[in-house]
Amino acid sequence: MDVQTWTYIIVGTTFAIYIGIAIWSRAGSTKDFYVAGGGVPPLANGMATAADWMSAASFISMAGIISFAGYDGAVYLMGWTGGYVLLALLLAPYLRKFGKFTVPDFIGDRYYSNTARTVAVVCALFVSFTYVAGQMRGVGVVFSRFLEVDINNGVYIGMFIVFIYAVLGGMKGITYTQVAQYVILIFAFMVPAIFISIQLTNNPIPQLGFGGTINGSETYLLDKLNGLHEELGFAAYTDGSKALIDVFFITFALMVGTAGLPHVIVRFFTVPKVSDARISAGYALVFIAILYTTAPAVAAFARTNLIQTVSNEKYASMPGWFSNWEKTGLLTFTDKNEDGVIQYVADAEKNELVIDRDIMVLANPEIANLPNWVVALVAAGGLAAALSTAAGLLLVISTSVSHDLIKKQFAPDISDSNELWVARGSAVVAVVIAGYFGINPPGFVAAVVALAFGLAAASFFPAIILGIFYQRMNKEGAIAGMISGLGITLLYMLIFKFNLFGDTTSADWWFGVSPEGFGTIGMLVNFAVSITVSSLTKAPPQEVQELVDHIRFPRGAGEAQNH
Protein backbone atom coordinates (compact mmCIF):
# COMPACT_ATOMS: atom_id res chain seq x y z
CA MET A 1 0.00 0.00 0.00
CA ASP A 2 1.16 3.56 -0.59
CA VAL A 3 1.96 6.15 2.07
CA GLN A 4 -1.30 7.96 1.45
CA THR A 5 -3.52 4.96 2.19
CA TRP A 6 -1.48 3.98 5.23
CA THR A 7 -1.73 7.52 6.56
CA TYR A 8 -5.51 7.59 6.23
CA ILE A 9 -5.78 4.25 8.02
CA ILE A 10 -3.39 5.00 10.90
CA VAL A 11 -4.35 8.63 11.47
CA GLY A 12 -8.04 7.75 11.15
CA THR A 13 -7.74 4.95 13.70
CA THR A 14 -5.93 7.13 16.23
CA PHE A 15 -8.51 9.91 15.86
CA ALA A 16 -11.30 7.39 16.45
CA ILE A 17 -9.53 6.27 19.64
CA TYR A 18 -9.26 9.85 20.92
CA ILE A 19 -12.90 10.61 20.30
CA GLY A 20 -13.97 7.30 21.86
CA ILE A 21 -12.00 8.08 25.01
CA ALA A 22 -13.45 11.58 25.13
CA ILE A 23 -16.99 10.24 25.12
CA TRP A 24 -16.20 7.56 27.71
CA SER A 25 -14.52 9.99 30.11
CA ARG A 26 -16.58 13.16 29.67
CA ALA A 27 -16.71 15.59 32.56
CA GLY A 28 -19.78 15.75 34.83
CA SER A 29 -18.69 18.52 37.22
CA THR A 30 -16.30 21.46 37.31
CA LYS A 31 -13.93 19.36 39.41
CA ASP A 32 -13.89 16.74 36.63
CA PHE A 33 -13.43 19.48 34.07
CA TYR A 34 -10.61 21.33 35.85
CA VAL A 35 -8.64 18.57 37.62
CA ALA A 36 -10.13 15.28 36.34
CA GLY A 37 -11.88 14.77 39.70
CA GLY A 38 -8.48 14.74 41.46
CA GLY A 39 -8.24 10.96 41.13
CA VAL A 40 -5.70 10.27 38.38
CA PRO A 41 -3.20 7.49 39.28
CA PRO A 42 0.41 8.81 39.30
CA LEU A 43 1.63 6.55 36.49
CA ALA A 44 -1.21 7.64 34.19
CA ASN A 45 -0.56 11.23 35.24
CA GLY A 46 3.11 10.81 34.34
CA MET A 47 2.18 9.60 30.87
CA ALA A 48 -0.41 12.34 30.39
CA THR A 49 2.10 14.96 31.57
CA ALA A 50 4.66 13.63 29.10
CA ALA A 51 2.19 13.87 26.20
CA ASP A 52 0.92 17.24 27.41
CA TRP A 53 4.45 18.48 27.60
CA MET A 54 5.94 16.98 24.43
CA SER A 55 4.57 19.18 21.73
CA ALA A 56 4.94 19.49 18.01
CA ALA A 57 8.24 21.20 18.83
CA SER A 58 9.60 18.15 20.67
CA PHE A 59 8.32 15.63 18.16
CA ILE A 60 8.67 17.38 14.82
CA SER A 61 11.18 20.19 15.28
CA MET A 62 13.63 19.23 17.99
CA ALA A 63 15.63 16.43 16.37
CA GLY A 64 15.77 18.54 13.19
CA ILE A 65 17.13 21.54 15.06
CA ILE A 66 19.70 19.39 16.84
CA SER A 67 20.80 17.79 13.58
CA PHE A 68 21.69 21.23 12.26
CA ALA A 69 22.97 22.66 15.55
CA GLY A 70 25.01 19.67 16.77
CA TYR A 71 26.28 20.24 20.29
CA ASP A 72 24.24 23.44 20.61
CA GLY A 73 21.08 21.29 20.55
CA ALA A 74 21.94 20.56 24.17
CA VAL A 75 20.05 23.69 25.17
CA TYR A 76 16.78 21.97 24.24
CA LEU A 77 17.73 18.54 25.57
CA MET A 78 18.89 19.71 28.98
CA GLY A 79 16.60 22.72 29.15
CA TRP A 80 13.41 20.83 28.51
CA THR A 81 14.22 17.92 30.85
CA GLY A 82 16.12 19.69 33.65
CA GLY A 83 13.04 21.76 34.39
CA TYR A 84 11.33 18.62 35.70
CA VAL A 85 13.84 18.42 38.53
CA LEU A 86 12.79 21.94 39.54
CA LEU A 87 9.13 20.99 39.17
CA ALA A 88 9.42 17.84 41.28
CA LEU A 89 11.54 19.40 44.00
CA LEU A 90 10.30 22.96 44.23
CA LEU A 91 6.74 23.15 42.96
CA ALA A 92 4.64 20.03 42.44
CA PRO A 93 4.25 18.72 46.02
CA TYR A 94 3.43 22.14 47.50
CA LEU A 95 0.97 23.08 44.80
CA ARG A 96 -0.73 19.71 45.20
CA LYS A 97 -0.99 20.28 48.94
CA PHE A 98 -2.46 23.69 48.28
CA GLY A 99 -5.01 21.79 46.24
CA LYS A 100 -6.80 24.26 43.99
CA PHE A 101 -7.59 24.20 40.31
CA THR A 102 -5.17 26.56 38.58
CA VAL A 103 -1.94 28.50 38.89
CA PRO A 104 -3.71 31.88 39.07
CA ASP A 105 -5.77 30.33 41.89
CA PHE A 106 -2.61 29.73 43.87
CA ILE A 107 -1.26 33.18 43.10
CA GLY A 108 -4.61 34.81 43.96
CA ASP A 109 -4.93 33.04 47.32
CA ARG A 110 -1.29 33.14 48.35
CA TYR A 111 -1.12 36.83 47.59
CA TYR A 112 -4.63 37.50 48.96
CA SER A 113 -5.41 39.71 46.03
CA ASN A 114 -7.62 39.68 42.97
CA THR A 115 -5.16 42.02 41.28
CA ALA A 116 -2.45 39.37 41.64
CA ARG A 117 -4.94 36.78 40.36
CA THR A 118 -5.74 38.90 37.31
CA VAL A 119 -2.05 39.52 36.56
CA ALA A 120 -1.53 35.74 36.76
CA VAL A 121 -4.49 35.13 34.42
CA VAL A 122 -3.04 37.58 31.90
CA CYS A 123 0.35 35.82 32.15
CA ALA A 124 -1.31 32.40 31.71
CA LEU A 125 -3.22 33.59 28.64
CA PHE A 126 -0.10 35.14 27.13
CA VAL A 127 1.98 32.01 27.61
CA SER A 128 -0.76 29.61 26.51
CA PHE A 129 -1.76 31.47 23.37
CA THR A 130 1.86 31.95 22.30
CA TYR A 131 2.42 28.26 22.76
CA VAL A 132 -0.79 26.99 21.19
CA ALA A 133 -0.05 28.98 18.03
CA GLY A 134 3.03 26.80 17.51
CA GLN A 135 1.03 23.62 17.97
CA MET A 136 -1.61 24.48 15.44
CA ARG A 137 1.08 25.34 12.94
CA GLY A 138 2.61 21.90 13.60
CA VAL A 139 -0.72 20.23 12.87
CA GLY A 140 -0.91 22.17 9.60
CA VAL A 141 2.61 21.10 8.52
CA VAL A 142 1.87 17.41 9.13
CA PHE A 143 -1.50 17.46 7.40
CA SER A 144 -0.34 19.35 4.35
CA ARG A 145 2.43 16.87 3.68
CA PHE A 146 0.82 13.56 4.56
CA LEU A 147 -2.85 13.95 3.83
CA GLU A 148 -2.09 16.27 0.92
CA VAL A 149 -4.82 18.62 2.03
CA ASP A 150 -4.52 22.37 2.07
CA ILE A 151 -2.66 23.57 5.20
CA ASN A 152 -5.76 25.53 6.33
CA ASN A 153 -8.03 22.51 6.01
CA GLY A 154 -5.50 20.60 8.09
CA VAL A 155 -5.85 23.17 10.84
CA TYR A 156 -9.67 22.91 10.65
CA ILE A 157 -9.52 19.12 11.09
CA GLY A 158 -7.21 19.58 14.09
CA MET A 159 -9.56 22.18 15.59
CA PHE A 160 -12.51 19.83 15.21
CA ILE A 161 -10.76 16.94 17.00
CA VAL A 162 -9.48 19.09 19.86
CA PHE A 163 -12.88 20.74 20.11
CA ILE A 164 -14.55 17.38 20.73
CA TYR A 165 -12.38 16.14 23.51
CA ALA A 166 -11.35 19.36 25.21
CA VAL A 167 -14.83 20.85 25.28
CA LEU A 168 -16.65 17.64 26.11
CA GLY A 169 -14.22 15.95 28.43
CA GLY A 170 -12.34 18.80 30.09
CA MET A 171 -9.33 17.71 32.12
CA LYS A 172 -10.75 14.23 32.58
CA GLY A 173 -11.16 13.64 28.86
CA ILE A 174 -7.82 15.25 28.10
CA THR A 175 -5.96 13.15 30.67
CA TYR A 176 -7.03 9.79 29.30
CA THR A 177 -6.72 10.94 25.69
CA GLN A 178 -3.19 12.06 26.48
CA VAL A 179 -2.30 8.64 27.86
CA ALA A 180 -3.31 7.15 24.48
CA GLN A 181 -1.49 9.94 22.65
CA TYR A 182 1.69 9.28 24.61
CA VAL A 183 1.67 5.63 23.61
CA ILE A 184 1.15 6.53 19.95
CA LEU A 185 3.72 9.29 19.83
CA ILE A 186 6.48 7.36 21.58
CA PHE A 187 5.88 4.31 19.39
CA ALA A 188 5.94 6.51 16.32
CA PHE A 189 9.18 8.15 17.40
CA MET A 190 10.97 4.97 18.45
CA VAL A 191 10.15 2.66 15.52
CA PRO A 192 12.01 4.65 12.85
CA ALA A 193 14.79 5.51 15.32
CA ILE A 194 15.40 1.83 16.04
CA PHE A 195 15.27 0.90 12.33
CA ILE A 196 17.75 3.60 11.40
CA SER A 197 20.03 2.78 14.32
CA ILE A 198 20.23 -0.83 13.13
CA GLN A 199 20.80 0.25 9.52
CA LEU A 200 23.64 2.59 10.41
CA THR A 201 25.33 1.09 13.44
CA ASN A 202 23.85 -2.40 13.83
CA ASN A 203 22.71 -1.49 17.36
CA PRO A 204 18.95 -1.61 18.08
CA ILE A 205 19.21 0.93 20.93
CA PRO A 206 19.57 4.39 19.36
CA GLN A 207 21.06 5.87 22.56
CA LEU A 208 23.97 3.43 22.22
CA GLY A 209 24.18 3.29 18.44
CA PHE A 210 24.71 7.06 18.55
CA GLY A 211 28.11 6.46 20.20
CA GLY A 212 28.85 3.32 18.19
CA THR A 213 30.75 2.56 15.03
CA ILE A 214 29.30 2.67 11.53
CA ASN A 215 28.27 -0.70 10.12
CA GLY A 216 31.15 -2.55 8.48
CA SER A 217 33.82 -0.07 9.54
CA GLU A 218 35.90 0.90 12.55
CA THR A 219 34.90 4.56 12.36
CA TYR A 220 32.70 6.01 15.13
CA LEU A 221 29.53 7.65 13.81
CA LEU A 222 30.26 10.96 15.55
CA ASP A 223 33.82 11.08 14.19
CA LYS A 224 32.49 10.42 10.70
CA LEU A 225 29.94 13.21 11.13
CA ASN A 226 32.55 15.63 12.45
CA GLY A 227 34.67 14.79 9.40
CA LEU A 228 31.79 15.40 6.96
CA HIS A 229 30.98 18.68 8.68
CA GLU A 230 34.52 19.97 8.48
CA GLU A 231 34.86 18.93 4.85
CA LEU A 232 31.82 21.04 3.97
CA GLY A 233 32.93 24.00 6.09
CA PHE A 234 30.54 23.60 9.06
CA ALA A 235 31.66 23.67 12.72
CA ALA A 236 32.42 20.20 14.12
CA TYR A 237 29.16 18.46 15.08
CA THR A 238 30.19 17.75 18.67
CA ASP A 239 31.51 21.30 19.27
CA GLY A 240 28.70 23.56 18.11
CA SER A 241 29.05 27.24 17.38
CA LYS A 242 26.97 29.19 19.92
CA ALA A 243 28.64 31.38 22.55
CA LEU A 244 29.02 29.69 25.93
CA ILE A 245 27.09 32.40 27.77
CA ASP A 246 24.16 32.08 25.39
CA VAL A 247 24.03 28.28 25.75
CA PHE A 248 23.98 28.81 29.50
CA PHE A 249 21.20 31.41 29.47
CA ILE A 250 18.98 29.60 26.97
CA THR A 251 19.24 26.33 28.90
CA PHE A 252 18.32 28.13 32.10
CA ALA A 253 15.38 29.94 30.54
CA LEU A 254 14.01 26.68 29.12
CA MET A 255 14.39 24.85 32.44
CA VAL A 256 12.72 27.54 34.49
CA GLY A 257 10.12 28.07 31.78
CA THR A 258 9.27 24.36 31.85
CA ALA A 259 8.76 24.58 35.59
CA GLY A 260 6.55 27.64 35.12
CA LEU A 261 4.27 26.43 32.33
CA PRO A 262 0.69 26.53 33.60
CA HIS A 263 -0.52 23.54 31.56
CA VAL A 264 2.21 21.35 33.05
CA ILE A 265 1.80 22.60 36.63
CA VAL A 266 -1.94 22.04 36.55
CA ARG A 267 -1.39 18.33 35.88
CA PHE A 268 -0.03 17.94 39.41
CA PHE A 269 -3.37 19.06 40.83
CA THR A 270 -5.00 15.95 39.36
CA VAL A 271 -3.38 13.24 41.53
CA PRO A 272 -4.84 12.12 44.89
CA LYS A 273 -1.88 12.79 47.21
CA VAL A 274 1.20 14.96 47.71
CA SER A 275 3.49 11.94 47.48
CA ASP A 276 1.74 11.09 44.19
CA ALA A 277 2.59 14.55 42.87
CA ARG A 278 6.28 13.98 43.61
CA ILE A 279 6.47 10.55 42.02
CA SER A 280 4.36 11.47 39.02
CA ALA A 281 6.89 14.18 38.15
CA GLY A 282 9.47 11.38 38.19
CA TYR A 283 7.35 9.16 35.94
CA ALA A 284 6.74 12.08 33.60
CA LEU A 285 10.47 12.63 33.23
CA VAL A 286 11.10 8.92 32.57
CA PHE A 287 8.52 8.95 29.76
CA ILE A 288 9.96 12.19 28.40
CA ALA A 289 13.54 10.95 28.67
CA ILE A 290 12.75 8.01 26.38
CA LEU A 291 12.12 10.50 23.58
CA TYR A 292 14.69 13.08 24.67
CA THR A 293 17.63 10.67 24.78
CA THR A 294 16.59 9.23 21.41
CA ALA A 295 16.23 12.61 19.68
CA PRO A 296 19.95 13.48 19.62
CA ALA A 297 20.65 10.02 18.18
CA VAL A 298 18.01 10.55 15.50
CA ALA A 299 19.55 13.95 14.81
CA ALA A 300 23.02 12.53 14.25
CA PHE A 301 21.69 9.64 12.11
CA ALA A 302 19.56 11.96 9.99
CA ARG A 303 22.40 14.40 9.50
CA THR A 304 24.79 11.66 8.38
CA ASN A 305 22.21 10.14 6.03
CA LEU A 306 21.28 13.51 4.60
CA ILE A 307 24.81 14.62 3.86
CA GLN A 308 25.72 11.26 2.34
CA THR A 309 22.59 11.18 0.19
CA VAL A 310 22.66 14.71 -1.23
CA SER A 311 26.15 16.12 -1.01
CA ASN A 312 27.90 16.17 -4.40
CA GLU A 313 25.26 13.95 -5.96
CA LYS A 314 23.45 14.55 -9.23
CA TYR A 315 20.13 16.38 -8.82
CA ALA A 316 18.57 14.11 -11.45
CA SER A 317 19.34 10.99 -9.40
CA MET A 318 17.68 12.18 -6.15
CA PRO A 319 15.23 9.71 -4.54
CA GLY A 320 11.44 10.24 -4.39
CA TRP A 321 11.34 11.94 -0.98
CA PHE A 322 13.43 14.78 -2.35
CA SER A 323 10.84 15.86 -4.89
CA ASN A 324 7.98 15.21 -2.42
CA TRP A 325 9.43 17.76 -0.03
CA GLU A 326 10.38 20.15 -2.84
CA LYS A 327 6.65 20.36 -3.60
CA THR A 328 5.96 21.67 -0.07
CA GLY A 329 8.59 24.37 -0.50
CA LEU A 330 10.36 23.20 2.65
CA LEU A 331 13.29 21.95 0.57
CA THR A 332 14.74 24.00 -2.26
CA PHE A 333 17.58 23.42 -4.69
CA THR A 334 19.06 26.22 -6.82
CA ASP A 335 21.76 25.09 -9.20
CA LYS A 336 24.01 28.14 -8.88
CA ASN A 337 26.93 26.83 -10.94
CA GLU A 338 24.64 24.89 -13.31
CA ASP A 339 26.54 21.61 -13.10
CA GLY A 340 23.50 19.51 -12.15
CA VAL A 341 25.22 18.43 -8.93
CA ILE A 342 24.03 19.42 -5.45
CA GLN A 343 26.58 21.50 -3.55
CA TYR A 344 25.58 21.54 0.11
CA VAL A 345 28.19 23.62 1.96
CA ALA A 346 28.41 26.11 4.84
CA ASP A 347 29.33 29.02 2.56
CA ALA A 348 26.03 30.75 1.73
CA GLU A 349 27.39 32.07 -1.58
CA LYS A 350 28.07 28.59 -2.91
CA ASN A 351 25.43 26.58 -1.07
CA GLU A 352 22.67 25.30 -3.38
CA LEU A 353 20.41 23.41 -0.99
CA VAL A 354 18.12 24.98 1.61
CA ILE A 355 16.41 22.58 4.02
CA ASP A 356 13.74 23.58 6.54
CA ARG A 357 14.69 22.01 9.85
CA ASP A 358 11.11 21.07 10.61
CA ILE A 359 11.12 18.38 7.93
CA MET A 360 13.97 16.29 9.35
CA VAL A 361 11.91 14.00 11.61
CA LEU A 362 9.08 13.71 9.13
CA ALA A 363 11.37 12.98 6.19
CA ASN A 364 13.72 10.76 8.16
CA PRO A 365 11.97 7.42 7.50
CA GLU A 366 11.80 8.23 3.79
CA ILE A 367 15.45 9.26 3.65
CA ALA A 368 16.34 5.94 5.28
CA ASN A 369 14.02 4.03 2.90
CA LEU A 370 11.77 2.64 5.61
CA PRO A 371 8.44 0.96 4.73
CA ASN A 372 5.40 3.13 4.04
CA TRP A 373 3.55 2.24 7.23
CA VAL A 374 6.42 3.72 9.28
CA VAL A 375 6.11 6.99 7.39
CA ALA A 376 2.37 7.04 8.16
CA LEU A 377 3.01 6.19 11.79
CA VAL A 378 5.31 9.19 12.14
CA ALA A 379 2.55 11.41 10.79
CA ALA A 380 0.15 10.03 13.44
CA GLY A 381 2.78 10.57 16.14
CA GLY A 382 3.35 14.18 15.13
CA LEU A 383 -0.38 14.82 15.25
CA ALA A 384 -0.68 13.13 18.66
CA ALA A 385 2.10 15.36 20.02
CA ALA A 386 0.61 18.56 18.64
CA LEU A 387 -3.00 17.79 19.57
CA SER A 388 -2.26 16.66 23.14
CA THR A 389 -0.36 19.84 23.91
CA ALA A 390 -2.94 22.01 22.20
CA ALA A 391 -5.70 20.42 24.29
CA GLY A 392 -3.80 20.95 27.55
CA LEU A 393 -3.26 24.61 26.69
CA LEU A 394 -6.87 25.16 25.67
CA LEU A 395 -7.92 23.82 29.03
CA VAL A 396 -5.65 26.28 30.86
CA ILE A 397 -7.11 29.09 28.80
CA SER A 398 -10.72 28.09 29.44
CA THR A 399 -10.12 27.44 33.15
CA SER A 400 -8.37 30.79 33.59
CA VAL A 401 -11.37 32.54 32.11
CA SER A 402 -14.21 30.57 33.70
CA HIS A 403 -12.71 29.91 37.13
CA ASP A 404 -10.28 32.74 37.81
CA LEU A 405 -12.10 35.56 36.06
CA ILE A 406 -15.82 34.70 36.08
CA LYS A 407 -16.23 32.57 39.21
CA LYS A 408 -13.62 34.27 41.43
CA GLN A 409 -14.22 37.85 40.39
CA PHE A 410 -17.39 38.63 38.45
CA ALA A 411 -19.93 36.04 39.52
CA PRO A 412 -18.95 34.33 42.78
CA ASP A 413 -22.46 32.88 43.17
CA ILE A 414 -22.44 31.02 39.86
CA SER A 415 -23.67 27.43 40.18
CA ASP A 416 -21.42 24.49 39.43
CA SER A 417 -23.35 23.53 36.32
CA ASN A 418 -23.38 27.09 34.97
CA GLU A 419 -19.66 27.42 35.62
CA LEU A 420 -19.17 24.20 33.65
CA TRP A 421 -21.02 25.78 30.71
CA VAL A 422 -18.91 28.92 30.93
CA ALA A 423 -15.77 26.72 30.95
CA ARG A 424 -16.99 24.88 27.84
CA GLY A 425 -17.89 28.16 26.16
CA SER A 426 -14.45 29.62 26.79
CA ALA A 427 -12.90 26.42 25.45
CA VAL A 428 -14.84 26.94 22.21
CA VAL A 429 -13.63 30.53 21.90
CA ALA A 430 -10.06 29.41 22.66
CA VAL A 431 -10.21 26.72 19.94
CA VAL A 432 -11.30 29.33 17.40
CA ILE A 433 -8.48 31.72 18.36
CA ALA A 434 -5.94 28.87 18.30
CA GLY A 435 -7.18 27.93 14.82
CA TYR A 436 -6.74 31.51 13.67
CA PHE A 437 -3.11 31.40 14.82
CA GLY A 438 -2.65 28.08 13.05
CA ILE A 439 -3.80 29.60 9.76
CA ASN A 440 -1.83 32.82 10.28
CA PRO A 441 1.24 31.50 12.08
CA PRO A 442 3.31 34.16 13.85
CA GLY A 443 6.62 32.37 13.25
CA PHE A 444 8.47 29.10 13.20
CA VAL A 445 7.17 26.37 15.46
CA ALA A 446 10.16 26.10 17.75
CA ALA A 447 10.89 29.83 17.85
CA VAL A 448 7.40 30.63 19.05
CA VAL A 449 7.54 27.93 21.68
CA ALA A 450 10.86 29.31 22.94
CA LEU A 451 9.13 32.66 23.33
CA ALA A 452 6.40 31.11 25.49
CA PHE A 453 9.06 29.65 27.78
CA GLY A 454 10.77 32.97 28.27
CA LEU A 455 7.47 34.50 29.28
CA ALA A 456 6.65 31.64 31.69
CA ALA A 457 10.12 31.83 33.25
CA ALA A 458 9.86 35.56 33.76
CA SER A 459 6.36 35.65 35.21
CA PHE A 460 5.18 32.58 37.18
CA PHE A 461 8.25 30.80 38.39
CA PRO A 462 9.50 33.45 40.86
CA ALA A 463 5.99 34.20 42.16
CA ILE A 464 5.35 30.53 42.95
CA ILE A 465 8.79 29.78 44.38
CA LEU A 466 8.75 32.85 46.62
CA GLY A 467 5.19 32.05 47.63
CA ILE A 468 6.32 28.68 48.98
CA PHE A 469 9.85 29.33 50.22
CA TYR A 470 9.70 32.94 51.41
CA GLN A 471 7.01 33.43 54.01
CA ARG A 472 7.54 37.20 54.15
CA MET A 473 6.63 37.56 50.47
CA ASN A 474 3.58 39.82 50.07
CA LYS A 475 1.17 40.86 47.35
CA GLU A 476 2.83 44.16 46.49
CA GLY A 477 6.10 42.35 45.77
CA ALA A 478 4.50 39.58 43.73
CA ILE A 479 2.46 41.92 41.53
CA ALA A 480 5.37 44.27 40.89
CA GLY A 481 7.64 41.30 40.19
CA MET A 482 5.34 39.60 37.70
CA ILE A 483 4.62 42.80 35.82
CA SER A 484 8.27 43.84 35.59
CA GLY A 485 9.50 40.34 34.66
CA LEU A 486 6.87 39.82 31.99
CA GLY A 487 7.19 43.40 30.76
CA ILE A 488 10.93 43.43 30.25
CA THR A 489 10.95 40.01 28.59
CA LEU A 490 8.16 40.96 26.24
CA LEU A 491 9.89 44.23 25.38
CA TYR A 492 13.14 42.41 24.62
CA MET A 493 11.32 39.92 22.37
CA LEU A 494 9.56 42.71 20.50
CA ILE A 495 12.81 44.59 19.94
CA PHE A 496 15.12 41.72 19.08
CA LYS A 497 12.92 38.86 17.93
CA PHE A 498 10.18 40.64 16.04
CA ASN A 499 12.21 43.75 15.13
CA LEU A 500 9.28 45.98 16.00
CA PHE A 501 11.45 49.08 16.41
CA GLY A 502 13.68 48.57 13.39
CA ASP A 503 16.07 45.83 12.32
CA THR A 504 18.44 44.41 14.90
CA THR A 505 21.30 41.92 14.77
CA SER A 506 22.91 39.71 17.38
CA ALA A 507 25.51 42.44 17.95
CA ASP A 508 22.78 44.61 19.52
CA TRP A 509 21.75 42.05 22.16
CA TRP A 510 22.09 43.14 25.78
CA PHE A 511 25.02 41.34 27.42
CA GLY A 512 25.13 39.02 24.39
CA VAL A 513 21.97 37.21 25.50
CA SER A 514 19.69 36.03 22.68
CA PRO A 515 15.90 36.55 22.87
CA GLU A 516 15.52 32.81 23.58
CA GLY A 517 17.73 33.11 26.64
CA PHE A 518 16.33 36.40 27.90
CA GLY A 519 13.71 34.71 30.07
CA THR A 520 16.56 34.06 32.52
CA ILE A 521 17.16 37.80 32.86
CA GLY A 522 13.41 38.42 33.12
CA MET A 523 13.28 35.89 35.94
CA LEU A 524 16.16 37.55 37.78
CA VAL A 525 14.47 40.94 37.39
CA ASN A 526 11.25 39.43 38.76
CA PHE A 527 13.06 37.96 41.78
CA ALA A 528 14.90 41.20 42.51
CA VAL A 529 11.83 43.43 42.18
CA SER A 530 9.64 41.03 44.20
CA ILE A 531 12.03 40.82 47.13
CA THR A 532 12.83 44.53 47.16
CA VAL A 533 9.23 45.70 46.97
CA SER A 534 8.04 43.16 49.50
CA SER A 535 10.69 44.12 52.06
CA LEU A 536 9.62 47.77 51.76
CA THR A 537 5.93 47.03 52.29
CA LYS A 538 4.08 45.38 55.14
CA ALA A 539 4.17 41.65 55.89
CA PRO A 540 1.37 39.39 54.62
CA PRO A 541 -1.55 38.75 57.01
CA GLN A 542 -1.38 36.03 59.66
CA GLU A 543 -3.67 33.58 57.87
CA VAL A 544 -1.52 33.72 54.74
CA GLN A 545 1.60 32.95 56.78
CA GLU A 546 -0.29 29.99 58.23
CA LEU A 547 -1.24 28.89 54.72
CA VAL A 548 2.45 28.87 53.80
CA ASP A 549 3.19 26.72 56.87
CA HIS A 550 0.33 24.45 55.92
CA ILE A 551 1.50 23.70 52.35
CA ARG A 552 4.99 22.77 53.55
CA PHE A 553 4.05 19.35 54.92
CA PRO A 554 2.01 16.74 53.09
CA ARG A 555 -0.59 15.50 55.56
CA GLY A 556 -4.16 16.63 54.98
CA ALA A 557 -3.99 17.20 51.23
CA GLY A 558 -7.41 15.59 50.77
CA GLU A 559 -9.14 18.15 52.97
CA ALA A 560 -7.32 21.05 51.41
CA GLN A 561 -8.86 20.25 48.08
CA ASN A 562 -12.40 20.78 49.28
CA HIS A 563 -12.20 24.23 50.77
Binding site: T238, L244, F553
Partner: protein
Amino acid sequence: MNKEKMKAYWQRNLLYLVVLLIIWFLVSYGAGILFADALNSIRIGGFPLGFWFAQQGSIYVFVILIFVYVSLMNKLDKKFDVDEKE
Protein backbone atom coordinates in the same frame (compact mmCIF):
# COMPACT_ATOMS: atom_id res chain seq x y z
CA MET B 1 2.34 19.57 64.79
CA ASN B 2 4.42 21.76 67.10
CA LYS B 3 6.60 24.60 65.82
CA GLU B 4 9.96 22.99 66.69
CA LYS B 5 9.19 19.78 64.87
CA MET B 6 7.79 21.64 61.92
CA LYS B 7 10.97 23.66 61.69
CA ALA B 8 13.21 20.59 61.89
CA TYR B 9 11.20 18.90 59.12
CA TRP B 10 11.46 21.95 56.88
CA GLN B 11 15.20 22.39 57.55
CA ARG B 12 15.86 18.79 56.56
CA ASN B 13 13.71 19.20 53.45
CA LEU B 14 15.72 22.30 52.46
CA LEU B 15 18.98 20.43 53.00
CA TYR B 16 17.86 17.68 50.60
CA LEU B 17 16.85 20.31 48.06
CA VAL B 18 20.17 22.12 48.23
CA VAL B 19 22.24 18.95 47.85
CA LEU B 20 20.14 17.60 44.97
CA LEU B 21 20.10 20.96 43.17
CA ILE B 22 23.87 21.26 43.45
CA ILE B 23 24.20 17.89 41.68
CA TRP B 24 21.60 19.05 39.16
CA PHE B 25 23.68 22.16 38.45
CA LEU B 26 27.00 20.33 38.25
CA VAL B 27 25.93 17.71 35.69
CA SER B 28 24.06 20.13 33.43
CA TYR B 29 25.66 23.56 33.63
CA GLY B 30 28.99 22.18 34.84
CA ALA B 31 29.75 19.04 32.84
CA GLY B 32 27.41 19.82 29.93
CA ILE B 33 28.27 23.49 29.36
CA LEU B 34 31.02 25.21 31.36
CA PHE B 35 33.52 22.35 31.36
CA ALA B 36 32.25 20.57 28.24
CA ASP B 37 35.26 21.53 26.15
CA ALA B 38 37.73 20.25 28.72
CA LEU B 39 35.78 17.02 29.20
CA ASN B 40 35.65 16.43 25.46
CA SER B 41 39.27 15.27 25.54
CA ILE B 42 38.03 12.23 27.46
CA ARG B 43 36.05 9.70 25.42
CA ILE B 44 33.61 6.91 26.24
CA GLY B 45 33.28 4.76 23.11
CA GLY B 46 32.43 7.17 20.31
CA PHE B 47 31.30 9.96 22.65
CA PRO B 48 33.40 12.93 23.70
CA LEU B 49 32.49 13.15 27.41
CA GLY B 50 31.32 16.78 27.53
CA PHE B 51 29.11 16.24 24.49
CA TRP B 52 27.74 13.06 26.10
CA PHE B 53 26.79 14.91 29.28
CA ALA B 54 25.13 17.67 27.28
CA GLN B 55 23.06 15.36 25.06
CA GLN B 56 22.53 12.20 27.13
CA GLY B 57 24.15 11.94 30.54
CA SER B 58 22.55 14.90 32.26
CA ILE B 59 19.07 13.60 31.35
CA TYR B 60 19.77 10.23 32.99
CA VAL B 61 21.02 12.01 36.10
CA PHE B 62 17.87 14.21 36.21
CA VAL B 63 15.68 11.10 36.31
CA ILE B 64 17.75 9.56 39.11
CA LEU B 65 17.64 12.80 41.11
CA ILE B 66 13.84 12.88 41.17
CA PHE B 67 13.56 9.27 42.32
CA VAL B 68 16.16 9.83 45.04
CA TYR B 69 14.20 12.89 46.18
CA VAL B 70 10.94 10.93 46.27
CA SER B 71 12.43 8.18 48.40
CA LEU B 72 14.18 10.63 50.78
CA MET B 73 10.98 12.62 51.26
CA ASN B 74 8.78 9.58 51.78
CA LYS B 75 11.12 8.47 54.56
CA LEU B 76 11.23 11.94 56.06
CA ASP B 77 7.43 12.23 56.01
CA LYS B 78 7.15 8.96 57.93
CA LYS B 79 9.82 9.93 60.43
CA PHE B 80 8.07 13.19 61.27
CA ASP B 81 4.65 11.58 61.05
CA VAL B 82 3.34 13.98 58.42
CA ASP B 83 2.80 11.35 55.72
CA GLU B 84 -0.60 10.84 54.17
CA LYS B 85 -2.71 7.94 55.40
CA GLU B 86 -4.36 5.77 52.78
